[in-house]
């Protein structure tokens, strides 16, 4: 077992250092290129390509390809070592996910976003695929299709894009390994106030309990209802605070009946959440230093069972242009257990981002099940395609 851990660690360090070395080699070798090409660049500057004769307006080349959606792909490769490999059927190397994104406007009224996740273990899944109505009046927008649910702040982030190699314990125990998502409709309303206050309402199918433990799909008509309110304040020019409260109510399997022939009603489970996100970044030095700290709490109240709670708090400090250091603390009860023991855990990570499009991270996780259980991860994500939105 220990060999395993060492092998992963050595590989990870080798990859990180070769990545850094590769980047440096690329950068230094480019010097001669750029000096040589400087006059060429100056020459092209005065004659913009593809400018039609009339007025010199520069337009992209004509062609039907221009109507293709933005296509992007994110790869998430991971190596794992430590105690969890002994206990579970997890493999040491994982291509956790390849996430394909297809995004474009549909017409002047709407846009469509598709995110297809492909993984050797899970196969092909439509992670999200929805139509957004952009031209509704009075501060409304709406989504139709499959989308990640607006429960809490963390749940909306696609798994490869979180800073973590794992899921926070509470998120995993309540909302599952992939997080809560649903097929249905969502309405969002931005209140007409001088500050940001937004309300979301969603109606979706209740997911099955193997993917989302907090709920259990029963009949087609037993839907999941979700509401969220969130607000944002600038505390100053460099700091801001996002606060949110979420509520979800969904089916929780069939109720017990006395009459064996009767079709039982659905039981329900309710989920409450609260979240706070603090951010610091000096806009004059935006690319060098930043801090994000997030706290999230959730509680589950089933019709016929005890209340169970959990949460997590994490911070990510960018201490240099390409380096992040972070830690997370987890605590959570097991939602279906009779005992109300709280499991705690933690994660630490050091992340190097050679560019905006590639990150390499070494992480250590400690979970206190029956005694401490250590896991080590090497996570790397890399993406290709058009420049996307910076995360916020």
């Amino acid at each position: 077992m220990r060999y395993h851990a060492w092998a992963i660690a050595v590989l990870a360090v080798a990859l990180v250092s070769s990545a850094a070395g590769f980047a440096i080699a690329q950068e230094s070798s480019s010097f001669s290129d750029s000096t040589v090409s400087a006059p060429d660049a100056a020459a092209t500057q005065t004659t913009p390509v593809d400018s039609p004769a009339s007025g010199g307006v520069t337009a992209p080349p004509a062609g039907s390809n221009l109507l293709n959606p933005n296509i992007s792909a994110i790869g998430w490769f991971q190596g794992q070592a430590g105690d969890a490999l002994d206990r579970t059927d997890t493999s040491a190397f994982q291509l956790r996910e390849v996430e394909l994104g297809y995004q474009a406007t549909v017409d002047p009224y709407s846009r469509a976003d598709f995110f297809i996740s492909v993984s050797p273990d899970e196969g092909i899944d439509v992670e999200e695929g929805y139509l957004t109505l952009l031209t509704l009046p009075a501060g409304f927008t709406a989504k139709l299709g499959k989308f990640r649910s607006n429960f809490g702040k963390f749940n909306r982030t696609h798994p490869p894009e979180t800073p973590f190699a794992d899921r926070p314990l509470a998120a995993e125990r309540f909302l599952g390994e992939e997080g809560l998502s649903g097929i249905g409709a969502s309405v969002s309303w931005l209140a007409p106030l001088p500050f940001y206050l937004n309300f979301d309402g969603e109606v979706t199918n209740t997911p099955d309990s193997t993917s989302v433990p907090a709920f259990a799909e029963y009949r087609g008509k037993d839907l999941l209802y979700l509401a969220r309110a969130s607000t944002f304040f600038d505390l100053g020019e460099t700091t801001n605070l996002t606060l949110g409260g979420s509520y979800a109510n969904g089916a929780n399997g069939p109720a017990e009946t006395v009459d064996p022939l009767a079709v039982p009603d659905a039981r329900r489970a309710q989920l409450y959440g609260a979240d706070a996100t603090f951010r610091w970044k000096n806009p004059k030095r935006a690319i060098y230093r930043s801090l994000t700290a997030q706290f999230e709490w959730m509680a589950r109240d089933p019709d016929d069972g005890p209340r169970r709670t959990g949460g997590f708090a994490w911070a990510d400090y960018q201490f240099a242009r390409r380096w992040h250091l972070g830690a997370r603390y987890d605590w959570s009860q097991a939602i279906d257990a009779i005992a109300d023991d709280t499991t705690t855990g933690g994660l630490g990570f050091l992340t190097f981002t050679p560019s905006e499009f590639w990150s390499l991270s070494l992480q250590g996780q400690d979970r206190d099940f029956d005694g401490s259980e250590m896991s080590y991860f090497f996570k790397t994500t890399f993406n290709i395609g058009p420049h996307g939105q910076h995360p916020f």
């Binding site: 980047a23 440096i24 690329q26 950068e27 230094s28 480019s30 010097f31 001669s32 000096t35 400087a38 660049a41 100056a42 092209t44 500057q45 005065t46 913009p48 390509v49 593809d50 007025g55 010199g56 307006v57 520069t58 992209p60 002047p108 846009r111 957004t132 952009l134 031209t135 501060g139 409304f140 927008t141 931005l190 007409p192 001088p194 500050f195 940001y196 937004n198 969130s230 944002f232 304040f233 600038d234 801001n240 996002t242 970044k281 806009p283 004059k284 030095r285 935006a286 690319i287 242009r321 390409r322 560019s355 905006e356 499009f357 290709i384 420049h387 996307g388 939105q389 910076h390 916020f392």
Partner: protein
């Protein structure tokens, strides 16, 4: 008064008062939101008293890296006109904001959306596009506002946008635009003369990021190389060493750095090469002194003059 009138007088009066401002909307100012302070300044020139203008970013921010804060949605939701630099400069933060702003008027294609780069002859278009080139902009170099000639073209795009959302005031915008054009042209001649007299024209300089090709074209100097080996790629010791050697060999006297980059590395280069380091404001609002688009070029040339004539940098 009948009971009916008594009962309804107050609510009706309230309703009347509430709707009164709508009747007076003809006098309401056009609410413009821009991505940068340069655009805000030009919009003020063209719009005058008829507009209220707010820029989302400050001039001292790297316009590539502005956080898409939800508070911007509140401003965008109320905007009659939105003006962006375009050419993917704001690709990391604007598209998501526009999609979430609940304001279809300012979505791309809407009457209230202005891409100020629409009629600009952009540079560095048509070269190789790939991430091996660094964080390149496939639609050309977006720092085009740094040529005052382009300021006139931007003003025309803003004039057209304002006239679309307020056709009744189109003549005012047209005459204010004409006046702005005249003033830019007059200043332009003065700036070019000044660039020559201070020794900027004809010289070779090094800049941090690829932000200054338009500025270089306007004032006739050559950008020999960059502190960044490739756009968006941080400098390495090897690159800095080679750059220092090259700058000495070419006798480069000037090193221009945008205020949002860490000046430590450029300071070291300046010390080792004897070149003058100028932290050059790339936008209106980059320093307290730069409050208008026309003032931007005055300030830039003033700083360069001080550096080249040895009056401190």
């Amino acid at each position: 008064m009948t009971r009916f009138t008594k009962r309804w007088a107050l609510p009706l009066l309230t309703l009347a008062l509430m709707t009164a401002p709508h009747a007076a909307r003809a006098d309401k100012k056009i609410n413009v939101v821009t991505t940068t302070e340069d655009l805000a300044s030009i919009t003020n020139e063209v719009g005058g008293d008829l507009v209220t203008v707010e820029s989302l970013s400050r001039g001292y921010q790297d316009p590539h890296f502005v956080d898409a804060k939800p508070s911007y949605l509140v401003k965008l939701k109320k905007a009659d006109l939105f003006v962006e630099v375009g050419r993917d400069l704001e690709v990391g933060w604007v598209p998501g904001l526009l999609n979430s702003a609940r304001n279809s008027k300012i979505l791309p294609g809407g009457a209230g959306f202005v891409d100020a780069s629409k009629n600009i002859q952009v540079l560095e278009l048509g070269g190789p596009v790939g991430r091996e080139q660094g964080d390149v902009h496939p639609l050309g170099n977006p720092h085009y506002w740094l040529d005052p000639e382009n300021g006139i073209i931007m003003a025309a795009a803003i004039r057209d946008g304002l006239s679309r959302v307020s056709p009744a005031n189109a003549p005012t915008f047209a005459s204010r635009y004409a006046d702005f054009e005249k003033r830019v042209r007059a200043k332009e001649a003065e700036w070019k003369q000044r660039a020559k007299s201070i020794g900027l024209t004809g010289t070779r300089v090094v800049t941090y990021h690829r932000s200054w090709p338009y500025f270089a074209r306007a004032f006739g100097f050559e950008v020999m190389d960059f502190v960044e080996p490739k756009p968006g790629v941080p400098p390495t010791p090897k690159h800095i060493q080679d750059l220092t050697t090259e700058m000495k060999a070419q006798n480069v006297k000037l090193l221009l750095v945008e205020p949002y980059f860490d000046p430590k590395m450029p300071q070291q280069i300046a010390r080792n090469t004897g070149a003058a380091l100028v932290i050059l404001p790339p936008s209106v609002g980059a320093t307290k002194e730069v409050t208008s688009y026309l003032g931007l070029f005055d300030a830039q040339l003033g700083l360069i003059q001080n550096a080249l004539t040895g009056k401190g940098s």
